[in-house]
């Protein structure tokens, strides 16, 4: 697979809805890879605080590792930021690190 231009990881810091083991494994996989990425403590909080940085994190060329795609889409919309049609949201609430990391890191086999 080709390397996505940008990766955004949400740590969902302020609730226990994403399995801790999944978050830790995905974050470790990203930091130990040679790939650059963005990480935020909590997209919900950024949306609630109307953090202008959310506008920097949109576009077609981004893979967002967070929770349900419908939630992520409308969290961005809530601050007037629109995810591009090519943006992909990967769900850490339902998917395992073993299935997530190959979608992000070219060297990890699916």
């Amino acid at each position: 697979m080709s390397i996505p231009l940008r990766i955004l990881y949400c740590n969902c810091s302020y609730a226990n809805v994403v399995p801790k083991a999944t978050k830790e494994a995905v974050l470790r996989g990203l930091t130990e890879s040679g790939i650059p990425f963005d990480a935020v403590p909590d997209l919900c909080e950024m949306s609630a605080q109307r953090d202008p940085s959310l506008h920097d994190l949109t576009g077609d060329d981004i893979k967002i590792v967070a929770c349900y795609p419908r939630a992520v889409k409308w969290l961005f919309h809530a601050v007037g930021a629109k995810l591009g049609d090519g943006a992909e949201v990967i769900n850490m609430r339902t998917d395992s690190p073993e299935s997530i990391l190959p979608k992000l890191l070219p060297e990890v086999p699916a």
Binding site: I3, A15, L27, A39, D42, S47, Q49, D56, Y68, A71
Partner: protein, 293 residues
Amino acid sequence: MSATLPIPLADAKPKAPRFRVAVYEGAGAELLPPGARTELVCALLAKGFSVSVIRVNGTVSATNSGTLVVLGQFADAKPERAEDGDAIVHFRDIRNKPTAEVVALAEGIRAELNLPKPGGWKPWFPVIDYDRCTNCMQCLSFCLFDVYGIDADKKIQVQNNNKCKTDCPACSRVCPEVAILFPKYKHGPINGDVVSTDDIRRENMKIDISALLGGDIYEALRDRSAKFKSRFNKERDADKALEERTKCLVKIGEKLDIPPEVFASLPSMDQIRTKATEAAAKAQAALNMQDKN
């Protein structure tokens, strides 16, 4: 942005400017040991910092304004502070510094700028799925805490997310289109999971349950309150009445997954009546405007 979608809070200003920390391992800097890098990123996230890990290949999101703190093991000396367009860049060499000390450097800059420290509350608030919302105003009529409002085009929007009661998803229960999300809720589809036909059927059933309770939850509460007062007057048994009222609230709370704290923070019955009337009037006015248009 589609013209048909309301732009939430067009007049709302961000509560803080952009602030990001970059762990820099690009040109002119040494790589951090993998373990140390992971520990640093985790520690920064835990303190509420947005982090970009910058390497030689690939890109991260741009920071064109605000403050960027760049942490790295630089080959050449860097200025402590520089300007890059509208962004202010602070460089800090982290060679031989333990993680806690590096995090403290970033915290120091954030404190100097008087920026709020994130993480003081669980970000709990409704998010509207405008692909599903029909602008029926049920949520506006229902919420007693002024979370919802309407924009200039009479479209429903979340206006005061800080007034929402933590862990209470009650308004999503009355939405006939399952269009209200609470991303931190434990179950779908309220948490943003895909909405199935069964979900819509279940949501309709919940509305029916609410109707069975006496028209709506507040109506049920009012009825119970009246009964409570009546019984209290007759029996003069405060403990019994309180027990009955508590049972009723617990029952409603369990049905709709509403935390007891929300009931505890409800306004008085008179205030509920006034607020419900006002909210209904506001919703009706918005609906009337839609009909005219």
